[in-house]
């Protein structure tokens, strides 16, 4: 196995294409990949479907890395050094066992696409400077444990794609309405009953846009609008009638609907 890996690494070293593809190779420790540390010019590393449990801080020594894919591993923690990687544009750590993002992660200077799908993250596991990631254009956070989103979300001004599918969200902050570049929003499978009227600012109903909101316990007036079509939902939440209704709904402070998603079978939870 190790010799096979070494051959793959050596091939990359000799070629002009500094991209390393080690998908489904049973790798447990990145540092044990023979010759890996010598690939200083690496721009892309794909390590999906392995058994990696931790990412070494020395990953940050690969100054040219732009794309890191670690989908479907067993990573519980990421190194704080990630935020110092000057060219990192895409980080995919989906389907792991993350319960937090490292301190200072928001300092990543170039990060455009962050995929943390299928982990154990919640609003309490985001570092304080997370919303400084204003270069972010796509954020995949489906299959996590978010219940509320902080109002600072409105600072991710460049966000075009936001996936919050299958979390435990009970409400969206009104600052969502500030994400004016958003053209793709997935909020299916949450505990949402209302949408903030400010989301009426968003343009999510064209042919170039995607808005997915199934599987939420919407209040009747919103559910009715979903029946006739998404454009009706947005027309409705822009209306004064709805603003009044929303104000009353928020003032009433009704208890959020109970959790319905059974996450006990998620592999990110199951202890080995």
């Amino acid at each position: 196995m190790a010799s096979k890996l070494k051959k793959l690494v050596d091939d990359v070293k000799d070629s002009s294409n500094p991209e390393l593809d080690l998908v489904d190779k049973g790798i447990v420790n990145i540092l044990e990949i023979p010759g890996f540390v010598n690939l200083k010019n690496l721009t892309k590393v794909v390590l999906a479907h392995n058994k990696i449990t931790s990412v070494p801080p020395s990953i940050a020594n690969f100054l040219n890395l732009e794309i890191i894919i670690l989908f479907n591993n067993a990573i519980e923690e990421l190194p704080t050094t990630l935020s110092s990687m000057p060219k990192l544009k895409t980080l995919n750590v989906g389907m792991n066992r993350l319960s937090a993002l490292p301190r200072g992660f928001g300092a990543c200077p170039m990060l455009e696409v962050l995929d943390v799908t299928y982990n154990n993250l919640s609003e309490h596991s985001l570092p304080g400077n997370f919303f400084c990631l204003d270069t972010l254009r796509a954020l995949y956070m489906g299959d996590n444990d978010f219940e509320n989103l902080p109002p600072e979300f409105g600072r991710l001004k460049n966000l075009q794609i936001l996936v919050l599918r299958d979390n435990d969200l009970v409400a969206l902050p009104k600052e969502m309405g500030e994400l004016i570049r958003l053209r793709e929003l997935h909020i299916q499978g949450n505990r949402l009953t209302v949408l903030p009227p400010e989301m009426g600012n968003l343009d999510l109903i064209g042919t170039k846009q995607i808005f997915k909101a199934d599987g939420n316990p919407w209040v009747t007036p919103i559910a009715d609008q979903f029946q006739v079509g998404i454009s009706h939902v947005f027309d409705y939440i822009r209306s004064d009638t709805y603003k009044f209704l929303y104000g009353r709904h928020m003032a009433a402070g009704a208890a959020p609907p109970p959790k319905t998603n059974d996450k006990s079978k998620k592999i990110s939870r199951i202890k080995k």
């Binding site: 593809d21 998908v23 489904d24 892309k44 794909v46 999906a48 479907h49 794309i67 894919i69 989908f71 479907n72 544009k89 895409t90 995919n92 989906g94 389907m95 455009e112 799908t117 299928y118 254009r137 796509a138 995949y140 489906g142 299959d143 794609i161 996936v163 599918r165 299958d166 053209r183 793709e184 997935h186 299916q188 499978g189 042919t207 170039k208 846009q209 995607i210 199934d214 599987g215 079978k265 998620k266 592999i267």
Partner: protein
């Protein structure tokens, strides 16, 4: 309206003093008291009638006439003051008595020099006037008022209402037909334009090469942008989506509209989802996204895909079959359920 003129004047009074000695007084009696005259008494003789000097007085104040001037009315003689008080009209403007020519207008009397246009103060005695809301106006001012009331302009040259479009020239409105094109001499219309202090018809103005902005339709005096077969003010040539001026930066044209780079590619879908660069050449499209040839690959294992490769959708990203098969069963179950529901509801 018309004016009546009264001649109220002293032409009826002839003032004479005669020496009594030269007259034969046989049976003469005083016109007032009917008594005879004493021999050495001074007698006043006026128009063949005679008075005692003490009888030759004003019929109103019984005082002798100052400087011998009197005014006669219905056989009685009055001093100037009492005559005026009793019979002369007084001017509605200055309040003084009017002797000589009287202008009767607007239910009042006026000195000719006191009856003036309410608006421009021109003397109206000889040219006539028009009553306008209880005011006397000259013809010009009345026309101007009328024009204002109708929301129309009033020609600065011929002083009449401008019924069609007007031409502004040095700040005043005119009938366009009072002017001729400085270049071809044709009679101007309202669309005439000014250049360097001269007026030109639109044709000549255009021929002089002064470009018109495609956005605001006004002439462009400063920097000119040539694009989309038109000319534009620098600040009016803007992206059709974000409306920010290009200010000399590159623009992209589509269906007669111009876009900035970002919005052109955002709208027409030519930015690669992976490298975020503009795609030159072939474009792979799926899930409302685009990929360049190098970057169309499984979003998980990065295996290259072609047009023929079958792939699954996961959060609107392509996933190859190999990766999808490795998904945990519970996730696949949920994805299948969501997929089936979407099919069922016909989305």
């Amino acid at each position: 309206m018309t004016m009546d003129e009264d001649a109220t004047s002293d032409n009826s009074s002839v003032v004479t003093f005669c020496d009594s000695a030269t007259m034969s007084l046989g049976s003469a009696v005083c016109q007032r008291c009917g008594e005879g005259f004493g021999l050495d008494e001074q007698i006043v003789n006026s128009n063949g009638q005679m008075w005692h000097t003490y009888c030759f007085v004003c019929a109103q104040c019984f005082q002798p006439f100052p400087e011998g001037r009197f005014f006669e009315f219905e056989g009685r003689k009055y001093c100037e003051h009492d005559f005026c008080v009793l019979f002369a009209p007084s001017c509605a403007k200055c309040g003084e008595f009017i002797s000589g020519r009287v202008i009767k207008a607007m239910n009042a009397s006026w000195h000719p020099e006191c009856f003036r246009c309410f608006s421009c103060s021109k003397i109206l005695a000889d040219e006539g006037f028009i009553k306008n809301q209880g005011r006397a106006l000259c013809k010009d001012c009345n026309a101007m008022e009328k024009a204002k009331g109708l929301g129309k302009y009033f020609c600065f040259k011929c002083h009449s209402i401008i019924d069609g479009g007007h031409l502004k020239w040095k700040g005043e409105p005119y009938h366009p037909y009072h002017f001729n094109c400085h270049s071809c001499g044709c009679e101007l219309k309202e669309d005439a334009r000014e250049k360097d202090g001269n007026l030109y018809c639109l044709r000549c103005h255009d021929k002089m090469g002064i470009p018109i902005c495609g956005a605001c339709r006004r002439p462009i005096e400063e920097r000119v942008v040539h694009a989309l077969g038109k000319t534009w003010h620098v600040e009016h040539f803007v992206c059709a989506k974000c409306e920010k001026p290009f200010l000399g930066t590159r623009h992209y044209e589509k269906k007669g509209l111009a876009y900035c780079e970002i919005h052109y590619h955002q709208l027409f879908g030519n930015i690669c989802f992976v490298c975020n660069n503009i795609i030159n050449g072939d474009v792979f499209s799926a899930f409302n996204k685009a990929w360049c040839v190098h970057h169309f690959a499984c979003s998980i294992c990065d295996k290259k895909m072609s047009q023929k490769t079958k792939f699954f959708e996961f959060d609107q990203k392509p996933v190859c079959k190999g990766c999808y098969d490795k998904f945990p069963g519970e996730l696949k179950k949920r994805l299948k359920k969501a997929y089936d529901e979407a099919i069922k509801s016909g989305k």
